[in-house]
């Protein structure tokens, strides 16, 4: 439960304060959480590669398409439609800022998505909410099941002569995947019903009794709400723009306080 609360808190901080400093702090602490949870290198490698590609593409696209900013470093010739115009340092910096926010969001979400199997989500909830957890975990489990079903159906259809020729051909894969998902969810519901789900108070093989450390961590995460609220009430600028010339991001304690609280919470919460 503590990890779930932490992840939700981190997402809230990134979305409420998309400032580069705050995003950087959240990204770093998210990766500390991933490493603390001993996530294997094999699982992390595609995430790192994906984030690096995304960051590079974001900077490149913004740098080439946005012609604002005072520091011109080159020109796209006028005979190239849509992108012609000056290339500025500020354009790249804005692309980097957007990328930082996206990387922070994905890194924060990864602390839950990579660390925890959706079917184990039930274990994250306290006993009183275990029924909600079990239902949510089962529902989320349909996503990987759909991915597996997509692969199986594509393989089976290819042997029957299907070829991926354009978007129209994909209908022969996507519709069966969706129909299969409906069928599977019906069978899942039937199985849960037959196994007494909802018949009364549940117990748990692995009970999540809240510990002092995890409770303290959850409280620290909840406290992030105060500086976030204060930032918005005090109209502290949380959106950083490098135009027309780059400036320093806001150094107001209200901007970086939520990230610091997340850091402390990450250190307090048990590694699991």
């Amino acid at each position: 439960m503590a990890l779930l609360v932490w992840t939700l808190g981190a997402l809230l901080v990134v979305l409420a304060i998309p400032d580069p400093l705050s995003a950087t702090l959240v990204t770093v602490v998210s990766w500390i959480v991933l490493v603390k949870r001993r996530v294997s290198e094999r699982q992390l490698r595609p995430l790192v590669v994906g984030l690096a590609i995304m960051g590079f593409v974001s900077m490149l696209v913004n740098g080439v398409l946005v012609h604002e900013g005072a520091t011109v470093v080159g020109f796209v010739p006028t005979w190239i439609p849509l992108v012609s115009g000056p290339i500025t340092i500020e354009g790249f910096l804005q692309g980097g800022s957007i990328a930082l926010t996206l990387i922070a969001t994905i890194s924060a979400a990864a602390t839950l998505a990579v660390v925890m199997d959706p079917t184990d989500l039930a274990d994250s909830f306290p006993r009183s909410l275990s029924r909600v957890g079990a239902a949510l975990g089962s529902a989320l489990n349909l996503a990987p099941a759909m991915a597996a079903s997509y692969r199986s159906i594509k393989e089976a259809q290819q042997f029957r002569g299907w070829r991926p020729r354009g978007a129209r051909a994909m209908i022969d894969i996507i519709i069966p995947v969706l129909l299969g998902a409906i069928e599977r969810s019906t069978q899942l519901a039937e199985s849960m019903e037959a196994r007494g789900f909802g018949s009364g108070p549940r117990s748990q093989l692995v009970a999540q009794e809240p510990t002092i450390r995890n409770l303290t961590g959850a409280v620290l995460v909840a406290m992030c709400g105060f500086p976030i609220l204060a930032v918005h009430l005090a109209h502290v600028p949380v959106l950083w723009y490098p135009y027309p010339t780059p400036s320093m991001p806001s150094l107001s304690p209200l901007v970086w306080a939520p990230s610091v609280l997340l850091w402390v919470a990450a250190l307090v919460i048990e590694p699991g």
């Binding site: 199997d117 959706p118 079917t119 184990d120 039930a122 274990d123 275990s130 079990a134 975990g137 089962s138 489990n141 990987p144 597996a148 079903s149 199986s152 159906i153 393989e155 089976a156 259809q157 042997f159 029957r160 002569g161 299907w162 070829r163 519709i175 069966p176 129909l179 299969g180 069928e183 599977r184 069978q187 899942l188 519901a189 039937e190 199985s191 849960m192 019903e193 037959a194 196994r195 007494g196 789900f197 909802g198 018949s199 009364g200 108070p201 549940r202 117990s203 748990q204 093989l205 692995v206 009970a207």
Partner: protein
């Protein structure tokens, strides 16, 4: 007085979604006492429907038109919700992989006892005991997605046993099990029946694995007189291929996942019209080998020869092939994709499936779905056919029909590879089969049922 399961003049129709309503059960009356009751009958005869009445999934979950009366341990099914009946009845589904709720074996088996509020120590003890009774305690910490089909089926049986039910209902629990698994399950069910749990199961593969105390025969939704298990073992009927033309080959093949070798030193080939049978324990690598021959799993080393086109592949789960509303439309789609002008009805007639042409695949029984999926993949008269557990859920008649189909294909030059744990089928198809053991192939002569 011992409680019983009593069916009194029960009739039932599934909801008819635009189709013609038909009775799945028609005026059925029966009493099930203690011991093992086997429900036998052809595919589509109403066995699964009868089983679902015992825990109230019919009519509570499926809806439809129900009449008559069913009582389980004195509780009337119509007025007792399924989730309440779950305290009395454990249920194992025909396709258990679609009903798994949790990620690991231990948590999946614990799910039922958790729902019924068992205390933590009892849940833990029940998980260990039920996994032990089906011989898979060593899998307790494994993720379910890493298990083979047979291993998953055993997890489902363990999960049903874990709630310590008064009645255990199993819908074709042996359909994916290897010989040892089926024998072990037979022994387990006999033991739990002796300990006082009533066992009711529908199964085509009982002979040799389990001796039921009572037999209920079913045909077209009616109960029929049946007092013995039929064991039909026809002699091997496929003549050896006389062709010298190689269709497929694996040479010094090795396949690993990461650093773990799954298959090593595989040398195997097949000629036109030749049927190759691969057997082995659940999780032994039969599917992996089949996928390697079909090019779905790349070899780590060695070489592979197989046709680029004209390869048919029947996966273990027939549902991935059946999405349209009529069986004939699925067959027509294969012919269209392959650019063939044959009539889909002719294909179904050759495979003795013309009677299923207009049926919706979702309304078919497990065995019928398997046969429909076979028709879909074999429609183009392939050069190479790869069939993964093709007799899953099939009755004796359907098995005979499958052998006839494979004979027809062999006569027309198709090389076929069948991965199966079904020794009767292996006996019918080939005098020599290949067994996967420890990642390598061992020839087995004179395989008999």
């Amino acid at each position: 007085m011992a409680q019983k399961i009593i069916f009194e003049n029960v009739s039932y129709q599934y909801p008819a979604w635009g189709g013609e309503p038909a009775y799945a059960l028609d005026r059925v009356s029966a009493e099930l006492g203690y011991g093992i009751t086997a429900v036998i009958g052809d595919s589509g005869s109403g066995k699964s429907t009868l089983l679902r009445l015992i825990n109230g999934l019919i009519p509570h979950f499926h809806g439809g038109d129900f009449s008559g009366r069913v009582t389980v341990e004195g509780k009337e099914v119509v007025t007792t919700p399924t989730r309440e009946l779950a305290k009395l009845v454990g249920f194992v589904f025909q396709e258990p992989e679609n009903g798994f709720v949790r990620g690991t074996v231990a948590r999946e088996v614990a799910f039922g006892p958790e729902n019924l509020g068992f205390d933590r120590h009892k849940i833990s003890a029940q998980v260990v005991a039920s996994l032990q009774s089906v011989g898979i305690l060593h899998l307790i910490d494994r993720r379910i997605r890493t298990l083979s089909g047979g291993e998953r089926q055993r997890v489902a049986v363990a999960a049903a046993l874990a709630t310590d039910p008064a009645t255990l209902v199993l819908d074709e629990p042996m359909s994916q099990l290897d010989e040892n698994g089926a024998r072990l399950l037979g022994q387990t069910l006999t033991a739990i029946a002796h300990s006082g749990t009533r066992v009711v199961l529908a199964e085509h593969r009982l002979a040799g694995y389990l001796q039921p105390d009572h037999i209920i025969g079913m045909h077209s939704g009616h109960l029929i007189e049946e007092n013995s298990m039929k064991v039909v073992v026809p002699p091997p009927c496929l003549p050896p291929s006389t062709s010298t033309k190689l269709v497929w080959e694996l040479h010094d093949a090795e396949l690993s996942v990461g650093t773990t070798p799954l298959l090593t030193g595989i040398n195997l080939a097949g000629r036109e019209g030749e049927v190759t049978v691969i057997t082995g324990a659940n999780g032994g690598g039969k599917t992996t080998l089949l996928r390697a021959i079909g090019g779905l799993s790349p070899l780590t080393s060695g070489s592979r020869l197989a046709p680029d086109v004209g390869v048919a592949y029947l996966p273990q789960e027939p549902g991935v092939l059946l999405h349209r509303t009529r069986v004939i439309d699925e067959v027509a789609q294969t012919l269209k994709w392959l650019g063939l002008t044959s009539s889909p009805m002719d294909v179904l007639e050759i495979l003795d499936l013309a009677h299923l042409a207009q049926r919706d695949p979702r309304d078919l029984s497990g065995g019928e779905r398997q046969r429909a999926a076979l028709a879909v993949v074999l429609a183009g008269q392939p050069r190479l056919a790869l069939l993964d557990e093709p007799t899953r859920g099939m009755d004796e008649q359907a098995r005979m029909s499958l052998v006839a189909t494979l004979t027809h294909l062999a006569e027309h030059g198709t090389a076929t590879i069948v991965a199966t744990h079904d020794r009767v089928l292996a006996h019918q198809l080939a005098p020599r089969v290949w067994k996967i053991s420890g990642g390598t192939l061992i020839p087995e002569e004179g395989v008999g049922p």
